[in-house]
């Protein structure tokens, strides 16, 4: 009896992984292909309306402690990133969100929503990281009002950019050799090293628009500098016309903006004018979608 068992065991161990021995476990109830694939598993609840409009499920705003890896905290943290770039960005300082540590959100009676976040931000060129505490307020109501941000960071300004900025400023200050460029980065993600500071400056300038346009349902990044042209230096400020492409993640749209940008090491980046560009020149205006 014992020998039989032993032999059986040996055989089984050797035959490990025989493809004909198969049990599909843990997959739970499946929807048969002949059933309507859109059928909802029994017991699930959906709040939907049956209109033909696009957004048929209401987005419920999370309140209280936020999960740092979920989208509400990350969208708000990206707004803080844009804010920090408007304050501290330059052709040699471009800040990106590294990690969301914690956050919370609450409704402010009939006025909007307030977020509190603990973040790590990273400066892209020097790789210096800093811890930041931030508070944001997204105004509610009808108007398209920009979010209000307050943030304090430790350690981010340690990157010493003064020498590079000064050199760059002096190099381009004289108006006898105005620079321009396009498609930065190009389709392959490449850019000439000399174009890199202009790319970074474009990113920082875009932050002004991205900050202004942000709400709890958007997530902006700059996709590309389509082109830029240096204009005559005025009042000691380098001046540029920029055409940037912004990527909005939730709608997946590419949005074109033209900006008038100035910069000097002392004054920082300023955006004097912004102009939204039409989506594409050969498209007609989209028809009214209320059917």
């Amino acid at each position: 009896m014992g020998w039989t068992l032993l032999i059986l065991l040996v055989v089984l161990t050797v035959v490990h992984g025989n493809p004909t021995v198969m049990v599909r476990t843990g997959s739970g109830p499946t929807v048969g292909f002949d059933q309507h694939p859109n059928s909802v598993p029994l017991g699930e609840d959906i709040q939907t309306t049956t209109e033909g409009e696009s957004e048929v499920v209401e987005e419920v705003m999370t309140t209280g402690v936020l999960n740092p890896s979920h989208y509400p905290a990350r969208r708000a943290a990206t707004v803080v990133q844009h804010y920090l770039n408007t304050r501290y960005g330059s052709p040699y300082r471009w800040i990106f969100l590294s990690t969301v540590h914690s956050g919370s959100a609450e409704d402010v009676a009939e006025m909007g929503r307030k977020y509190q976040l603990e973040l790590t931000m990273q400066e892209m060129i020097s790789n210096v990281s800093g811890q930041c505490s931030a508070e944001l307020f997204f105004p509610g109501g009808e108007g398209q009002s920009a979010p209000q941000v307050q943030a304090s960071c430790e350690g981010l300004h340690q990157s010493n950019t003064t020498a590079q900025e000064e050199a760059f400023y002096q190099q381009h200050r004289a108006s006898n050799n105005l620079v321009s460029g396009n498609n930065i980065p190009d389709s392959y993600g490449h850019m000439e090293p000399s174009m890199k500071p202009f790319w970074q400056l474009g990113g920082v300038a875009s932050s002004f628009i991205m900050l202004r346009e942000s709400n709890e349902s958007t997530l902006y990044n700059m996709a590309q500098v389509a082109n830029f042209t240096q204009l005559e230096t005025e009042k000691d400020q380098l001046r540029f016309n920029y055409h940037v492409l912004l990527h909005e993640m939730i709608s997946q749209e590419i949005i074109h903006w033209k900006l008038l940008v100035t910069w000097s090491p002392e004054q920082g980046v300023q955006v004097l004018q912004t102009e939204l560009q039409p989506k594409c020149h050969h498209c007609e205006a989209p028809p009214n979608t209320t059917n």
Partner: protein, 372 residues
């Protein structure tokens, strides 16, 4: 007269010889470059290069690689997959991977190419890869949205195209439907637009797009055999699990999260990059009509979307010098999922029985030792 005839025959023969010699030399140089130059997998490739590469993979590995055309795009181009696995007399289980459903996400087809090269490079020497090649077939579509991908290579102004290239209808003059909103999985419910000019336009109806139909058709035919479904996108560094609708949970959500988190851990071990794991409505946005959701709905238990590098610095225009590290980490993540899938299918039953019998034998020995 005869001299003329001989001369002209000679000339014809000579020109033929030169031509074929020239051609042979060209293809020899080209294939030498393509196969041995490690730089090939660190660059982006247009559609005709990828098509030629698929032919080369078949040619160089005829016993393990074959191809299948399983559909047509709007512009009547072939949608082709590579079927990779050791041949077998019995029907085999399968792993599905598709790349490039969104045209501008160039890193995705680059990853599919890298993945194919990697399993072909290692299956003879790596016992685990060999075992998986023996027990499974890999069905890999390097570029699903062929029309869109070609369009994104057209010039700089088309680089950021996302959708298919079917024309708008009903007076709407824009082109393209978002293929990843066009599947028969809660179609049209959330995270879509009904405006044909929009990037998330879900189409006139589910499966209006021939590309989505091709995948649906294949998955339907292979439904019993597919163990895992991976669809590759960029950017955001995420691993997404079904479903895209915020109020519907996959029955094996816990398993999906566990495997996904394991994959993220494997990814981080390669180059330190963080990939966030969760349902789309939790970590990104709600959406419906995705291929991942459709795969899970028809019963494929392990269905994941990979969103590769980066997190917004370059976005879709990821520099070529990041192709290799991105592919290396994504490969580690995919292998984690595939290994789990394989081992679950081919080990769990036998392992349970074996463990039970060993325990029984041990108990029998112990009791007989005590009795003696």
């Amino acid at each position: 007269m005869m001299m003329l005839g001989l001369g002209s025959v000679g000339l014809v023969l000579l020109s033929l010889a030169v031509q074929s010699g020239h051609g042979a030399q060209d293809s020899a140089v080209w294939s030498r470059e393509e196969t041995t130059e490690r730089n090939y997998y660190t660059r982006y490739h247009n559609m005709s290069e990828i098509t030629a590469w698929m032919e080369q993979m078949k040619r160089e590995n005829p016993d393990v690689v074959s191809s299948m055309v399983y559909g047509q795009t709007y512009e009547r181009r072939n949608i082709t997959l590579l079927k990779i696995g050791l041949s077998s007399t019995v029907r085999k289980k399968a792993i599905w991977m598709d790349c490039g459903i969104h045209a501008r996400e160039w890193i995705a087809p680059a990853f599919c190419q890298y993945f194919v090269r990697e399993i072909l490079r290692t299956y003879k020497t790596d016992t685990k890869v060999n075992e998986m090649m023996k027990n499974l077939d890999f069905y890999i579509t390097p570029v699903l949205n062929v029309d869109g991908y070609i369009y994104s290579w057209h010039n700089e102004s088309t680089r950021l195209w996302r959708k298919s290239r079917s024309p708008g209808t009903g007076g709407c003059t824009c082109y393209g439907t978002d293929l990843n909103r066009n599947f028969y999985a809660n179609w049209g419910m959330v995270g879509v637009s009904t405006d044909c000019c929009s990037e998330t336009y879900c189409g006139t109806k589910a499966l209006s797009e021939s590309e989505a139909w091709a995948v649906t058709d294949m998955l339907g035919k292979m439904r019993e055999d597919i163990l895992a479904f991976l669809t590759i996108h960029s950017y955001s560094q995420l691993i997404l699990v079904p479903y895209g609708h915020p109020n519907i949970s996959a029955p094996n959500y816990d398993e999906l999260m566990e495997v996904g988190l394991g994959a993220a851990k494997a990814i981080k071990a390669v180059h330190g990059m963080d990939y966030t794991v969760g349902t789309s409505p939790d970590v990104l946005y709600a959406n419906s009509g995705s291929s991942r959701d459709f795969a899970r709905l028809i019963g494929i238990p392990l269905s994941f979307t990979f969103e590769l590098r980066d997190k917004g610095e370059h976005g879709f225009e990821l520099p070529e010098d990041q192709i290799q590290p991105t592919c290396e980490e994504a490969y580690a993540g995919a292998q984690h999922i595939i290994t789990y899938t394989h081992d679950k299918a081919f080990y769990s039953y036998a392992a349970t029985v074996t463990a039970t019998l060993w325990t029984t034998l041990l108990a029998a020995w112990v009791s007989s030792a005590i009795l003696l």
